[in-house]
């Protein structure tokens, strides 16, 4: 379990992470989604104690990571694809790191086989493709049989085969009761892997919800209603809707109810409707919508 409490990180005048709090729970895959520069990597570095928080705290399995006796058994992390020395072989890289926790060569060979690098294990890691580098990073993350697996953009550079492999791997790790926390800037990826979704933009948490609740609230059955009798209709629908968002004095968006039911309800109560529009949004669009104010680098087209 990872508990992030009021975490803030400032680099000079730039606030990379702005007073965020969330909990990553064991037994499921938690996706950490946000545009580039949203603060995902900074947050993950603070979880590992690599960066010192400006304020707030992180607990890793209820402890400060630096105070854990067996860090490799608490968290296995992949933070950057090239976090190794180019001149060292993949196997020696793992052997050197594993030695700091008393883990021997047989476990090293085991994880190398697990990530499919056993045949190139004695080659210099500097010659690896991005995908092979990611696999080496995942081997590093798994070597200590960690209770938490934390991966920053793990599918970057992986071929479709590798993407499928990592999806199965993460699911298996979560099913074993481990905490699985991974970041991505791609909603499409999260949709396929994550049970829980934490969306971050400009250092702030924009959503922290289960994947299914997120899908429910954003996909097909969202309906925009424009009516002069907003308060009455809202009270009639509240009991049956998962969420009602009032946008102006006569407009609200509700989810969880079909447009037909809303029309029927309004008609029965004698409420005039000016507009009744089913809104259909893809998850990718929902993500864009949520983070549109927090994307750092707009392209000209989107900036308008």
């Amino acid at each position: 379990m990872i508990e992030v409490r009021n975490l803030t990180k400032q680099y000079g005048s730039v606030t990379a992470v702005d007073d965020i709090s969330f909990t990553v729970e064991p037994g499921k895959v938690t996706g950490f989604l946000g545009p580039n520069g949203a603060g995902k990597s900074t947050t993950m570095r603070m979880v590992l104690g690599l960066d010192r928080p400006t304020a707030g705290s992180v607990l890793v399995n209820s402890q400060n990571y630096r105070d854990t006796a067996a860090p490799v058994h608490e968290i296995g992390a992949l933070l950057e694809a090239k976090g190794f020395d180019k001149a060292r072989s993949a196997r020696n890289h793992l052997i050197a790191l594993a030695a700091s926790s008393g883990i021997g060569a047989s476990r090293v060979d085991e994880v190398l086989a697990m990530v499919g690098l056993n045949e190139v294990a004695k080659q210099k890691a500097g010659g690896f493709s991005l995908g092979m580098g990611q696999r080496l990073g995942i081997a590093v993350a798994l070597i200590g049989d960690p209770r938490i697996v934390m991966l920053d953009e793990p599918v970057n550079g992986l071929d479709p085969d590798g993407v499928l492999w990592i999806r199965h791997l993460l699911r298996k790790l979560a099913d074993e009761g481990r905490t699985v926390f991974l970041s991505s800037h791609l909603m499409s990826e999260m949709e396929l892997i994550a049970d829980q979704l934490i969306i971050i933009g400009r250092g702030k948490i924009l959503a922290d919800t289960t994947m299914s609740a997120f899908i429910d609230s954003w996909s097909t059955n969202r309906v925009r209603v424009v009516t002069p009798g907003l308060p009455e209709l809202q009270s009639l629908l509240t009991a049956r809707s998962t969420s009602i968002v009032v946008e102006s004095s006569d407009t609200f968006v509700c989810s969880g109810i079909d447009a037909a039911v809303i029309g029927q309800t309004a008609f029965a109560a004698g409420i005039v409707l000016h507009e009744l529009t089913p809104l259909s949004v893809s998850l990718e669009e929902a993500f864009m919508e949520l983070t549109k104010d927090s994307v750092q680098f707009h392209t000209g087209e989107n900036a308008a």
Binding site: L48, L50, R52, Y65, H73, L97, S100, G102, V140, G144
Partner: protein, 266 residues
């Protein structure tokens, strides 16, 4: 996992040793230091005895030097190579991003720094002693064969200079490591250690007014003079203060590196 995977200091040392052992540059640097130290001692001895002609037909080039100074002529190369080796041990992981992987495995930072220092010292000391003693015996054999004056290893001054030179080179490699960790850049740290140790004293000697020159003896290379040079020089510190000031430089560089390492984001 029921097996013990706690991080312990001996395990960190082992990890740091494996890191160095598995880089070819480690063996290239240690090997070339050994080779150059011994080879240049022999060449200097040959030159002194006139067995190597300097091509100008004059008297032997190194004439007049003390035998110990002659046979340890390769020490300058060893100083350079081991300073660079130290810098490499400190800065290399910053070049690759490996340092963050290391700290994910060992989140407490001071033990990492300490382990790096101990592994460096453990590698440098035996090789530099081997190199110095090798240069001593080979060089003295060359001098003796030519009938020149030699110094025996039982001579207290020879022992002082041999041990002192080995300690000086080891100490500089540690300063190199500290600078590498503090500056996180190999070129910068190499320039600083070489500039500070080899160029700065000469530069300041030329630039400082006469009355200020007394501070020069506290610079690392000059503080080491009483235990690396056979003749005791009047303008340098005595042996004990020399040892203390040189050690102080080593310790101070490590303290600065340690404070920065612990406080800064990795």
């Amino acid at each position: 996992m029921s097996v013990d995977v706690d991080v312990t200091f001996p395990r960190i040392i082992r990890s740091e040793f494996i890191k160095l052992r598995t880089l070819r540059s480690t063996w290239i640097l240690l090997g070339s230091m050994l080779l150059l130290f011994i080879a240049f001692g022999a060449i200097a001895a040959l030159a002194t005895t006139g067995q190597i002609d300097d091509g100008r037909g004059g008297p032997p080039a190194a004439l007049g030097l003390d035998p110990v100074t002659t046979v340890l002529a390769g020490g300058g190369f060893a100083v350079l190579i081991m300073s660079v080796f130290g810098v490499l041990c400190g800065a290399r992981e910053y070049g690759s991003g490996m340092i963050r992987t290391t700290l994910a495995f060992v989140p407490k930072r001071l033990p990492v720094l300490l382990a790096k220092v101990l592994v460096l010292i453990g590698l440098v000391i035996p090789v530099v002693i081997l190199a110095a003693v090798g240069a001593f015996f080979l060089g003295m054999a060359v001098l003796s064969a030519a009938g020149d004056t030699t110094t025996s290893l039982s001579d207290p001054d020879a022992q002082r200079v041999l041990i002192g030179t080995a300690a000086y080179i080891t100490g500089l490699s540690v300063i190199g490591l500290a600078l590498g960790m503090a500056m996180r850049s190999m070129p910068g740290a190499i320039a600083t250690v070489i500039g500070g140790v080899l160029i700065l004293p000469a530069l300041l000697t030329a630039l400082l007014p006469e009355s200020w020159r007394s501070v020069l003896k506290y610079l690392p290379s000059n503080a080491a003079a009483p235990f690396t040079e056979i003749k005791v020089r009047a303008d340098m510190l005595a042996l004990t203060p020399g040892i203390i000031f040189f050690l102080a430089w080593v310790v101070a560089s490590l303290v600065v590196a340690g404070i920065l390492f612990v406080r800064r984001d990795a």
